[in-house]
């Protein structure tokens, strides 16, 4: 039982990060149809900017805030100068653009920051909480709580505000949304900005546990994308479920099966799920009208 709890907490912590990255994927995908592989770089930017601003003597909360602003600005620039000009291009081209952007951001981070690993002090100390035989870091709870807050806020905005309705309308049909007077470019801007902010927040929250460096984004993008696919591309709730599930799968297969095969097990399960439910666990089936 103690192991089970330990594995579960490990999985939930890692899964919460995957979930936030997956959420970023989903937001941008919904608003613009682009799979943004630079999503992981927002996580890196959040963590690294905070570290370096803090090193420069800025108080931590302020540094974190600026880091989010930096990520949002870069998200907007990415949209305006890389995605928007190529709006008419096919999905493969757009994906290539985002991969290019992610390589560029990684390279730039190498120069602007450095190539070392960095950490941040945890919010509530590093002493683990003992619970049912398992040891949990307080920061893990912060990450989980952060994920809950982000998801709730996002849901509230999307579901309860006019802006949210506009996002949903743009996602459903861009042309129709434009016809009823929605500035769809603004809406896509908004989704890039929010995705970047979510990524940056995730990066700041996990850095005390997972450390950060200029190239943490690649793997996170891959795992986040897998989480988003598992949950169903396009479903925000699915992204969260998929991300958490992926984290749990990894932790449990590392713990109960073999650490050699944990990634293989996780990806096998994803394959199996997608084989049986191609639209993902919670995605809507695509209906093509002929």
């Amino acid at each position: 039982m103690a192991e089970f709890l330990q594995f579960a907490f490990s999985g939930l912590t890692v899964g919460a990060v995957y979930a936030l990255v997956a959420l970023g994927f989903t937001l941008i995908y919904n608003a613009s149809g682009v799979v943004n592989f630079a999503q992981g770089e927002f996580v890196m930017l959040g963590g690294m900017s905070t570290v370096f601003l803090a090193l420069a003597g800025m108080p931590l909360p302020f540094a974190a805030l600026i880091a989010v602003v930096v990520a949002v600005a870069i998200g907007l620039v990415l949209h305006r100068f890389a995605i928007e000009p190529a709006r008419g291009a096919g999905p493969v081209t757009l994906i290539m653009i985002t991969i290019g952007a992610s390589i560029f951001l990684r390279g730039a981070a190498q120069i602007v920051f450095d190539k070392r690993f960095h950490s941040l002090p945890p919010l509530f100390g590093a002493d683990p909480i003992r619970f049912g035989g398992a040891a949990i870091l307080p920061q893990s709870l912060v990450v989980l709580a952060g994920a809950v807050v982000v998801v709730t806020l996002l849901w509230a905005v999307i579901d309860r505000t006019l802006l949210g309705k506009a996002v949903i309308a743009t996602a459903a049909n861009r042309l129709a949304a434009r016809l009823v007077g929605i500035n769809t470019r603004r809406i896509v801007d908004f989704s890039f900005a929010v995705s970047a902010a979510i990524g940056a927040i995730a990066g700041i929250l996990v850095t005390p546990i997972t450390l950060t460096s200029y190239d943490v984004g690649t793997l996170l993008a891959l795992k986040g994308f897998a989480g988003a696919m598992l949950g169903g591309m396009g479903s925000a709730f699915g992204a969260v479920v998929g991300g958490l599930l992926l984290g749990l799968l990894e932790a449990f297969s590392a713990g109960y099966i073999s650490s050699n095969y944990k990634d293989a097990v996780a990806f096998l399960v994803i394959l199996a799920v997608l084989f049986m439910m191609p639209q993902g666990l919670l995605g809507r089936a695509q209906v093509e009208r002929v």
């Binding site: 192991e3 330990q6 594995f7 907490f9 490990s10 912590t13 890692v14 990060v17 190498q110 190539k115 070392r116 690993f117 960095h118 950490s119 590093a126 683990p128 040891a135 870091l137 996990v206 546990i209 997972t210 450390l211 460096s213 190239d215 943490v216 793997l219 932790a251 449990f252 590392a254 713990g255 650490s259 050699n260 944990k262 990634d263």
Partner: protein, 386 residues
């Protein structure tokens, strides 16, 4: 005014004269292919700085055998394919006399055939034992091997009467290779491996693996083979789970950065490392002390960065090469190669080097020091008598 012009003219004339004589004097070209950028840049960058620094210093003193050295450095970006391309260019276009460098094992192995064929002495700066085993005529290396690190750890374990261990290794090339070497030499030290776990090089949580190690029966110590951020996370998770048996890390994390990243969790962790890391702490009787203290001071002064063992490997490579050239009294490739092989009693940053036709590394276990992290700093563990 007019006088100023004359002075300037003389100045230009003199400098042109120097430039001309500079070109006329024969130069010895030394090639280097290093991973200055890319994932292994933390190795390649100090190597490049060290080579440039000491080639300048040697040239300032008149070069080797009256010839200035010319350093030709290419950056392979951590890609072994690039390394091979650059190796060919060094041989065919730059026509180098000798080669120092090959930052990673992959790059080195890719370049070996090029230099073997061209018959150019090649001193690699990469870790794996495969580079010099089997012995290749033209290939040497300066860094200690991962097998020696395992042996150093096991000697210390034996000294503490800890014989049943668990290994947790990274699945990257470094972690895997060292794990294999550790398993190969374990019987020699009477160490048995009760449990094994792995983690991906970019994993951010190793508590499941460590929980299993914690629950494995009879484990008296844990050895973590890996480098990068993985070992720091292993160390943190280790303390998080409250595992009390001793934890050993590898020489792959022997840098101050590891202590910074692992924080308080690093207390009590032991690891083998080169003397360079603890330069100032070595007893004065240590023959390596003057060398490592000098190198670390000069490096810190010139670059403003803390020394790493990797730059030290480059220093050793360059010194072994230039001393061999001096003994050979020429830059003739075959003669220099023979002299490198005859290197005896060279005291470098990596240890005392005694090469032979069967040993193109020439280091023994005394090259490693066992360190323990105490109060956020390294302390020397008295030698276990390897």
């Amino acid at each position: 005014m007019a006088r100023n012009h004359i002075v300037a003219a003389i100045g230009i004339g003199v400098s042109m004269l120097f430039a001309a004589s500079h070109q006329a004097s024969a130069q010895t070209k030394i090639g280097a292919v290093l991973s200055v950028t890319g994932p292994a840049s933390f190795l390649g960058d100090p190597e490049k700085k060290t080579l440039e620094m000491y080639v300048d210093a040697i040239n300032a003193k008149g070069g080797v055998n009256g010839q200035k050295l010319e350093l030709v450095i290419y950056d392979d970006g951590g890609d072994a394919n690039n390394a091979r391309t650059f190796a060919t260019r060094l041989v065919e276009e730059d026509k180098i006399a000798a080669m120092v460098g090959g930052t990673s094992t992959g790059a080195t192995l890719a370049m070996i055939p090029v230099f073997e064929e061209a018959q150019i002495p090649f001193i690699s700066l990469a870790g794996a034992v495969q580079i010099i085993e089997p012995v290749r005529k033209w290939v040497f290396k300066t860094p200690h091997t991962d097998r020696m690190a395992c042996e150093k750890i096991f000697a210390d374990l034996k000294h503490r009467n800890l014989t049943t261990i668990a290994i947790i290794s990274g699945t990257d090339a470094f972690g895997k290779s060292m794990r294999d070497q550790c398993i190969a030499v374990a019987p020699k030290y009477g160490v048995s491996i009760a449990h094994e776990e792995t983690y991906g090089p970019r994993d951010s949580d190793m508590t499941p693996q460590l929980t299993n190690i914690k629950n494995a029966a009879g484990v008296q110590a844990v050895v973590n083979t890996g480098f990068g951020q993985g070992p720091a996370i292993v160390t943190r998770n280790y303390r998080q789970l409250g595992i009390t048996v001793p934890l050993y890390q590898s020489h792959g994390v022997a840098s101050k950065q590891f202590i910074d990243l692992a924080g308080a969790a690093a207390e009590g962790v032991r690891l083998p490392a080169a003397a360079l890391l603890v330069a100032e702490k070595l007893p004065n009787s240590d023959p390596q002390k003057p060398v490592v203290v000098n190198y670390s001071r000069e490096y810190q002064q010139k670059t403003g960065q803390a020394v790493s063992t990797f730059g030290g490997h480059a220093y050793d490579g360059l010194m072994i090469l230039t001393q061999a050239m001096q003994r050979a009294k020429s830059a003739d490739k075959a003669q220099v190669r023979d002299e490198i092989e005859k290197t005896k009693g060279y005291i470098g940053t990596g240890g005392i080097v005694n090469m032979s036709p069967t040993d193109h590394l020439g280091l023994n276990l005394s090259a490693f020091r066992m360190l323990e992290i105490k109060n956020g700093d390294w302390t020397l563990v008295p030698d276990a008598g390897s």
